[in-house]
Amino acid sequence: MSLSRLLERLLQLIPVLLGVSAIAFLMMALTPGDPVQIIIGDQSITPEQEAELRRGLGLDRSLLERFFIFLRNALQFDFGTSYYHRRPVSDVIAERLPATIELSLVALIVALVTAIPLGVLAAIRKNSILDRLATVGSLLGVSLPGFWFGLLLIMLFAVQLQILPVSGRIGYSSEVPTITGFLLIDTLLHRDLAAFGDALRHILLPAITLGLPMTAILMRVTRASMLEVLRQDYVTFADAKGLSRRRVLFRHALKNALIPTVSVAAIETGSLLGGNMIVEAVFGWPGLGRLVVESIFLRNYPLVQAAVLLYAVTYVLLNFVADILYTVLNPRVKL
């Protein structure tokens, strides 16, 4: 992939990012209800103080002006003050972000580790019982609502069998000073294996719940592309060369079959962002998703706005990465 082509793609991102920001801005700017009133609550203040507050928030300016101020601030990660926490929104978000990223990454790993081998096996043994089970499983995977599946897992593993915790990131007994914010990493850095195990047990069910639809989709993609690749001449030719079955399947077929899988995985990582809200709500996971839902009920609009923008920008960038990955992995596509 040439550098100029990469630059061109990057430039194409700009209008999309602008549009996304405009929508995130308008969503909250047009929300009925006066932010000043929300901040004031039941406190009594003078009209002068109220006007001062209004000016401080920039609410006396025109919508367009306010948008540009919003953009300028957003580029500096300044999203205003969280009404509820009375701290900068960016600080509050930064605090919650590692939990969400950690959960998403583990979910991604869970999905990749189960989906790829299953998809490959299903393709190699097409129409076998395993293939049928995998197909039914993938249909179920996209049909199960995450919030319900999560509850079922809790009822089974936490309530009935009592082998995994119901909610949270780590037990109260574990004391892990923050280094990276990722508990799985921090516990290891502190060489606290017990705490690491505890964190791992906590993240297991949420990660499986979050990763389920992605697993289903990736498995389908892997199976379909593996079937497609197995029909190709180069697989027949590899067989004609007398290579071992393992080499034909894994070196010749899988290397090509994984190209669509990897790029779909990048796109689906974006959809994990949406699933986060649900899963974090079900498992009491102290991440960004839960923060956003809470903030909606608290009418803490600056935070909701910042989070919507953050999610959207991440999503757009992930799609961009998916696009690039596809071309980089595919030596045939000349740019």
């Binding site: 209008p15 909250m28 609502p145 974006g270 959809s271 949406g274 709500a281």
Partner: protein, 297 residues
């Protein structure tokens, strides 16, 4: 416009019938259609079918287990929730919300998507650029985030859910229609219609649209399953229909408080969602295999 008779329209009808026959032969898909139909009947005839008033609370029946368990009562087959309301009746009424929103959102979105997609694919040029930009921007949001943001802005309510979902949903049929239109507009019979002096409107509605409906319908069914899950998710988060109206998502949410002692409160409404969504997914897979074999293996 003058009355132009167009002889070159492909025989869509016979193909349609053959596809329909293929679809009917798919037993699993037909079974799914029947399941969906049962849900639809439940929706329409809820007051007749439901054994109880879905909002009738009875504190003596609080968390009463399903009929086959100890303490159960066959008058309340699936048991009662935390306020002693009959779960089965609430599921039957909840189907109304899911199906209503699923259908209305998809019909709205497909309508808008067809208009926008036809315009973009047929006129190309700046129309295509403008619509394409809007589509790109809307695709830039994870679906649930977008809907949640809108719900936060508009406040809860049935109508607002429909809007919150439809605002983004139309993008999907729009892209399908645009792509198909681009492919079809250059075909001979469209060319012939244009040569005979048919207007743009006539060509789009009469010549192009009928020939691209298969993929549009297939996509619409798949998306309906998704919309139903999204609505349930919003309701689960408390951003959907407000209590006491029964919706499956909020019923599952209500049951979270009782997972230790009353598993049935959350489990059955969730099962209803899975059953409906699964049936729609299987049926749409069958539709796709029969009507649009390009996309199936």
């Amino acid at each position: 416009m003058t009355d132009v008779t167009l002889a070159h329209t492909p025989p869509a009808d016979s193909l349609f019938r053959r596809n329909l026959r293929d679809f009917r032969r798919n037993r699993l898909a037909m079974a799914s259609v029947i399941v969906v139909l049962i849900f639809v009947i439940m929706t329409v005839a809820a007051p007749l079918i439901a054994p109880h008033d879905p909002n009738q609370t009875d504190l003596f029946r609080r968390l009463q287990p399903p009929a086959w368990m100890e303490g159960g009562d066959w008058a309340f087959v699936l048991g009662c929730d935390g306020l002693g309301r009959d779960i089965l009746s609430r599921i039957i009424y909840g189907a109304r919300i899911s199906i209503f929103i699923g259908v209305v959102v998809i019909v709205l979105a497909t309508g808008v998507g067809i208009l926008a997609g036809l315009a973009a694919g047929y006129f190309r040029g700046w129309v295509d650029v403008v619509i394409g930009r809007v589509v790109d921007i809307l695709l830039g949001f994870p679906y649930l985030i977008f809907a949640i943001g809108l719900m936060a802005m508009m406040g809860p309510g049935l109508f607002n859910i429909v809007l919150a979902l439809a605002y983004k949903e139309w993008v999907i049929p729009c892209r399908v229609v645009r792509g198909e239109t681009l492919a079809v507009r250059e075909l001979e019979y469209v060319e012939a219609a244009r040569a005979l002096g048919a207007g743009s409107g006539h060509i789009m509605w009469r010549e192009i649209l009928p020939n691209i409906m298969s993929p549009v319908i297939v996509v619409a069914t798949i998306r309906m399953a998704n919309v139903i899950i999204l609505e349930a998710s919003l309701s689960f988060l408390g951003l959907g229909v407000q209590p006491p109206t029964a919706s499956w998502g909020s019923m599952v949410s209500d049951g979270r408080a009782f997972i230790l002692e009353a598993w049935w409160v959350s489990t059955f409404p969730g099962l209803a969602i899975v059953l409906l969504v699964l049936a729609i997914n299987v049926a749409s897979q069958g539709l796709r295999d029969a009507f649009d074999p390009r996309f199936s293996e």
